[in-house]
Symmetry: C2
Subunit: 171 residues, 2 copies
DNA sequence: TAGGTTTGTTTAAAACTTGAACCAAGCCCG
DNA sequence: CGGGCTTGGTTCAAGTTTTAAACAAACCTA
């Protein structure tokens, strides 16, 4: 089968997208590095934890929400723990598990970094979009993410309903 | 001034965006690494070169199009040169300049990798969007990129029209 | 209980990024 | 012309991150 190349419209969209995502991620990383001493990913870890029940989550669940590998997460969490922003706890229900729990200090750091972060996201993203476009962006990116999820992390267990992760957060 | 937090709609959009861009970049990197032995950025370098007049471009111009620092580009180009996919040439009109020129081998590698890459982009992105959404995506990301450009790389020269880079590609 | 899975970490090697420092070449202006 | 600033590009050192493979412990199911 011969390749279906991108149409001119698709090409324009693709290029604009690539440029925007690169620039945006750079800008956000820079801002957070500056103001909070950590890159976007690390901030996201704290942020996700802060919204979880009891501000804690199992490593695997955390990795899943952040769309990163467990190995990568282990590395990041180790640094955050060293900085005292979170703590690892044992899981009572599953002795293999370890739980990342946001510390008070971590929460404070997050609270202090949040305004600057939101300002950045706002000024570079939402301030430039109409309300309508915000909705469009959500639909578009949600569709993309969905496609990539079901495809990527497809394991045998996904085909066995009764074995699917339920993850009561073990909390 | 108190922070204007994100509205629920904005939050949803932001999260979907972050997840999608991460997953998409991962998927593309994986595919290209697999099929062409290089990450997305390197492929982009070859790709931009292949579309430039005489398949060559000055380093600074290349960095500008790719939205990366010159330092970062130097590193990448060094590797690509080592792999024989491009060659550095002296610039006749400006003895400071160096030009990255795609080699025949580089072009061949690109030709072979392109179908797989396009397939990936298509299946993860465009196949999931309506024609209308493609247009929306372009407008949205173009707006974002524009905002980030004028802000970021603002140098004194930008305010002096007659000194702005014209870059006749020196070719 | 055996066999296969899942969890999370470890390890070692690469790959990448950054920022500053630097040199050579170009440009400006008195 | 010649000093002084700017630009193009690389180099360097340091640190960060990423990956993949291997692993042990704990789980699960038959």
């Amino acid at each position: 089968m011969t390749t279906r190349w991108l149409t001119p419209e698709e090409q324009r969209a693709w290029r604009a997208y690539v440029a925007a995502s690169l620039l945006l991620e750079d800008a956000i990383d820079r801002q957070l590095q500056q103001d909070a001493g950590m890159p976007h990913l690390y901030y996201s870890i704290l942020s996700v934890l802060s919204e979880s029940p009891e501000r804690r989550l199992r490593m695997t669940d955390l990795a899943e929400r952040l769309k990163i590998t467990r190995s990568r997460l282990t590395y990041a969490v180790t640094r955050l723990e060293k900085d005292g922003l979170l703590r690892r706890e044992a899981c009572r229900y599953d002795k293999r598990g370890s739980i990342a729990a946001l510390t008070d200090e971590g929460f404070t750091v997050l609270e202090r970094a949040a305004p600057g972060h939101v300002d950045t996201v706002r000024s570079f993203l939402f301030d430039r979009l109409s309300e309508e476009q915000v909705g469009q962006l959500e639909e578009i990116t949600a569709a993309i993410a969905q496609g990539l999820q079901e495809d990527g992390t497809r394991t045998a267990a996904d085909d066995v309903p009764w074995r699917r992760r339920s993850s009561p957060a073990c909390s």
